[in-house]
């Protein structure tokens, strides 16, 4: 028993100390600062009051979460068919391998680089506008940069691979004999999909959504680049406070607000999925 205890201690000690010192304590520092008055010190909720009683902040929160939710929904709508295609339709292994590499490649590329690509594509004279104009679909260039649509396009693009990979993983795990049992019991293929395959892939959809949502609401680079300063999201506000205003108290409250809202949405999503699985 004592030998085992010292072994455990030996394995756990370093990671525990490291994460306490450079993860837990810093987060606690932010939390404490957010509850401390900037001028007098002492505990106060004024930093939060400043955020939550202010219409501007609510509009920023609304934009942030609207973008998060829309990004998640669009990612699922686009990602599910692609995942299905890769797992169920592609028979040629080499092609699937190439597809997976294409899918993972964006994940291995910096957000900057990828957003930069969209800056080029979505500009006034970018490829998208030129193609639309040449096709006669629009007369004047659409403004994408500096709008929520532009940010949305960029966020969906950046986060889509996560959804495809998690849903694909879940689909690959669905036991074929369950689908055969369903067909055997008289269900058509559409009916089998809705009653068996889709419910069994929901855990993948939920975990993919959680990742996408968490990353979308906390994304800083993509909104910063594609908004051109015209659309503000929560992460941008946090960064301003820490990098140029240096108000750690108010900035801390913003950071905690972002954190709490994110964790709240994740909790709701996993609760819904757990109820759904019952």
């Amino acid at each position: 028993m004592t030998a085992s205890r010292s072994v455990i201690l030996g394995l756990v000690a370093l990671p525990l100390v490291y994460f306490t010192a450079f993860f837990l304590v810093p987060l606690m520092t932010v939390f404490v600062a957010s509850l401390t008055d900037a001028q007098q010190g002492g505990m106060t909720f004024s930093n939060y009051a400043r955020i939550l009683l202010d219409e501007y902040h609510w509009s920023v929160i609304a934009v942030t979460f609207r973008l998060g939710i829309l990004t998640t929904l669009i990612c699922i709508v686009l990602g599910y068919p692609l995942a299905w295609y890769l797992v169920r339709i592609v028979k040629w292994r080499t092609w699937r391998r190439i597809c997976v590499i294409l899918l993972v490649l964006p994940l291995f590329t910096s957000n900057i680089v990828r957003s930069f690509g969209w800056m080029v594509l979505l500009g006034r004279n970018g490829l998208v506008n030129e193609t639309l104009q040449a096709g006669g679909l629009i007369e004047r260039p659409i403004r994408f940069l500096g709008t929520e649509t532009g940010i949305l396009i960029g966020l969906v693009y950046i986060l889509l691979p996560f959804v495809v990979l998690t849903i694909g993983n879940a689909l690959a795990k669905v036991d074929h004999s369950l689908e055969q049992a369903s067909a055997d019991l008289g269900a058509s293929s559409a009916s089998t999909f809705w009653h068996v395959t889709f419910p069994l892939s929901i855990p993948g959809v939920v975990s993919g959504s959680i990742i996408v949502f968490a990353l979308a609401v906390s994304a800083y680079v993509t909104p910063a680049l594609l908004s051109g300063g015209r659309v503000t999201v929560l992460a941008v506000l946090v960064f301003q406070q820490y990098s140029s205003v240096f108000n750690f108290h108010y900035g801390g409250a913003l950071a905690i607000t972002l954190l709490v809202f994110t964790l709240l949405m994740i909790a709701i999503a996993s609760l819904v999925s757990r109820l759904g699985a019952r």
């Binding site: 049992a181 055997d184 019991l185 009653h195």
Partner: protein, 354 residues
Amino acid sequence: MAGADMTLLAIDDISKNFGKHQALCDISLAIESGEFVSLLGPSGCGKTTLLRLIAGFLRADRGTISIAGEDVTGLPPHRRPLNTVFQNYALFPHLTVADNVAYGPRRTGAGKAEASRRAQEALDLVGLGEFGDRYPRQMSGGQQQRVALARAIVNRPKLLLLDEPLSALDLQLRKRMQIELKQLQEKIGIAFVFVTHDQEEAMAMSDRIAVMNAGRIEQVGTGAEIYRRPATRFVAEFIGEASLLPVQRTGNGALTIVPAVEASGRSVAVLRPEHAQIFAGQADASTSCNLLSMEGHVETVASIGGVTNIYVRALGHLVHARRLGLVESGLREGQKVVLGIDPQNLHLLEGPQP
């Protein structure tokens, strides 16, 4: 015409290849209403492939399958009037037991109330009426097996396919389920096609057994038929235990056993161990008339519970004999004995055997 009406499942000249591997070759089989037929064979013999072809999960390269006179060869699984009990049960993990069983009726047009009433009936039939609210993962292997069975019979199919449904259960439970399954089959009167590699299981339950090997059906018959009169060497060796002895006929038509060194190209006689008698000397053997006798010596004596297996080396053959009870007269290894065989008990496979 009356005979044709009785045929429920007709399989005609079915062949199936997987790439270069020939999984099934010219399979024909007819199964009657209410019949319990086992597909028996070693793994890789094509029995599961045949079952999946009947169910519609695979398409045959050649041949037709019809059920109750209707050609179903081209029909997808959900249009075929049969159901399957899967080897791993394939219970839907996201549905309760009751919803699992109600799945079939729901998909085939029954209303919610109607479906759950029928599900309850089916669950009662397999003795799980109380367990509808549970999830499959909360049940034991034997219970899951019954749920799979209830789910498969709830649609009242004409034909039930069972893919080694008992193989995951331990020996005790398997024996009990064999009896229950047979009783259930007689009670509901559905024809069963039962895939197994366990000959005892097939013998215990089936009206008829189709013995399969290397993609072909070697023999179809009742358990007694295939045991007493195996059609091929494979069946003789696969079903029960047997010593295969090369034989030739003498001028007067009587059989004699050929020594092992001259065996090739001869007809073969199938000797079941219970038909090989062992005598201490030639004189004892001669007392019973018409016995074929061979001198030899005991190689191994092994008692297993109620029976004793004795292996005797005679004319270069290793002959397996069996006696009930522990061997009293003290047969020892190495002892000289005489084997006596009643020719009546030999089943002859005519023609040169490999």
